[in-house]
């Protein structure tokens, strides 16, 4: 089941009991953010939230926490709502193998219904904008799919990037924009600014649920997010041509904002409560002049609460960060069994692996740090044995407590690269990184006394299934 737009997915969430409509009047602040914040504190199958009675607005429609639970993430991929996390990641990795799936171009995009241009652009008249956290510098677009092209190779479909970046609304037609240097749009901007040129940009809001997943997914520079969306959907991604930039944008978006990043200009932006659970900024960031807005009649404004984990952001980018690391590690190290990169976008990663020989697990850990995503994240790696489930934290903590001899199994490497948002970095963008090898040493690494492990009884798996069946029958 592939969703072509946000609205059809919201309908499914509703039917599956995963959408909560809040019909009482709420204040734009602090209610909208506080309600979404609360979804992260009420268990891991929290619903999406839909508000349509917001004080002072006449026709605001706001969707939050759309991906904010394992149930919702499963439904976004067309899986049963109760699919376990490890299975969601494995299914994601399996579908990846269909990449690339060519998109399908359509002419009748619903966002063509309404247009504002030039001096008439007023984002406040189109979107019910609001603030998330106390210390935020203003109102943000934080769940957009932002499209840009490589100025040196504008015809290359794969180098056209679709990514999610934080965007502060600093005027009726002006935005401040954060391209982290590791991200593709920053490469596009650098090439344009070296030539003194503006960088055209399209910002799409309220996208289908798989588009939101691929826009936040670490992918190779010349790989197309649309072709990955097709693989994950199991059907070509519907795209349309944006009228001003000519860029390829999702067919099903609620709102398409087009304009340029103004060349060689920086302006104060932030702070913003980030995925690290800390504010970052204010910094001097690039700015966007909006020249055209296209939008569906009665657009749904989709936003995402972000702050102290876990929030929707962690469900949204958790699995899509695990999979590229899993693929890239397995390409050279088929011994790798599973990768859990769901903590703070992979600043910490847990990897389960078989060992080829003594010292092997530490090599896997070093490789994780040198993957494209690892260069900007992966500051701590925990290696566990092949029979430890890295998504099962009590098992991981058992491995850490029983297998680690700190002097020999903890490796610290100074002065490596990390995203500037990492709160522990010093200076910003530079950090030491650590490997904790919690695997059992194998020959010729003959350390410790691991020869007599206690294992589950042979009948245990059968009994676990029997007990789960009894519990399910009781519910």
């Amino acid at each position: 089941m592939a969703y072509d737009d946000l609205r059809s997915f919201l309908d499914t969430l509703d039917k599956q009991g995963q959408l909560l409509r809040i019909t009482d009047e709420v204040l734009p602040e602090p209610d909208l953010a506080a309600a979404a914040n609360a979804t992260g504190r009420i268990g891991e199958n929290a619903p999406a939230l839909y508000f349509d009675n917001v004080k002072g607005f006449t026709d605001a429609r706001i969707a939050m926490n759309v991906h904010g639970s394992w149930a919702n993430h499963a439904l976004a991929l067309g899986l049963p709502r109760n699919t376990p996390v490890k299975e969601q990641v494995e299914e994601f990795a399996r579908r990846w193998d269909a990449f690339p799936v060519a998109p399908e171009r359509r002419e009748d995009a619903p966002w063509r219904e309404n247009t504002q241009e030039g001096d008439d652009v007023d984002l406040f008249s189109v979107l019910p904008l609001f603030r998330l956290n106390d210390g935020d510098g203003g109102f943000y677009l934080d769940k957009a799919a932002v499209v840009s092209r490589d100025p040196e190779d504008p015809g290359h479909f794969g180098k056209q990037n679709v990514g999610t970046y934080r965007i502060q609304v600093i005027g009726a037609n002006r935005l401040a924009f954060q391209p982290v240097p590791m991200h593709d749009v920053a490469q596009h901007l650098r090439k344009a600014e070296e030539k003194g040129e503006d960088l055209p940009i399209a910002i799409t809001l309220g996208n289908d649920p798989v588009m939101a997943i691929v826009a936040g997914m670490p992918m190779a520079y010349d790989h197309s997010e649309y072709e990955m969306a097709g693989a994950l959907r199991g059907a070509p991604a519907p795209i349309a041509t944006a009228p001003l930039t000519g860029f390829d944008v999702p067919w099903g978006s609620e709102v398409v904002i087009e304009g340029v990043i103004e060349s060689r200009k920086r302006q104060i932006e932030g702070p913003f409560g980030e995925f690290t659970g800390h504010y970052s900024g204010g910094r001097r960031m690039p700015v966007i002049r909006v020249d055209r807005v296209s939008f569906r009649t009665n657009p749904v404004f989709e936003s995402l609460y972000i702050g102290m984990p876990w929030t929707e952001c962690d469900y949204l980018v958790g699995p899509n960060t695990c999979v590229p690391l899993l693929k890239q590690l397995r390409a050279e190290f088929p011994e790798v069994k599973a990768v859990n990169a769901m903590y703070t976008h992979g600043l910490l990663v847990i990897i389960s692996t078989a060992k080829r020989y003594g010292g092997f697990a530490k090599a896997v850990g070093m490789r994780a740090m040198t993957t494209p995503h690892g260069l900007g994240y992966v500051a701590q790696v925990i290696l566990v044995d092949e029979d430890v489930d890295p998504f099962n934290l009590p098992q991981v903590m058992w491995a850490m407590s029983a297998k680690v001899n700190p002097k020999d199994d903890v490796v610290v490497i100074p002065n490596l690269s990390v995203v500037e948002l990492a709160p522990a970095a010093q200076p910003a963008g530079i950090t030491s990184k650590m490997i904790i090898d919690a695997t059992t040493p194998v020959s010729p690494d003959g350390r410790g006394n691991f020869s007599t492990p206690a294992k589950d009884l042979p009948e245990t798996a059968q009994w676990a299934a029997r007990l789960q069946g009894m519990l399910a029958g009781r519910a």
Partner: protein, 79 residues
């Protein structure tokens, strides 16, 4: 709502611009500081809208704004 506050809650700058006003007349305005670009709605709690209640940690001085690092840095022009 015609009365703009005297200064920015965050940096105390005295010029504030109205960015938007509520579609239902008279409920709120969205205001912005002309110097630090701080943006707020008049119906937000005092900790976000009033200088005397604004958290010290988030206050900005003109030096903070002028010295904020550039992300990403503007690259040299290719000639």
């Amino acid at each position: 709502m015609s009365n703009l506050p005297a200064d920015c809650p965050r940096c105390a700058f005295e010029t504030v611009t109205r960015l938007a006003t509520s579609p239902v007349p008279g409920v709120w305005d969205v205001l912005q500081c002309d110097r630090c670009l701080y943006t707020w709605r008049t119906t937000e709690p005092a900790r976000r809208t009033r200088r005397d209640a604004f958290p010290e940690n988030f206050k900005l001085t003109p030096a903070d704004i002028a010295n904020a690092i550039e992300v990403p840095e503007v690259p040299p022009l290719l000639t």
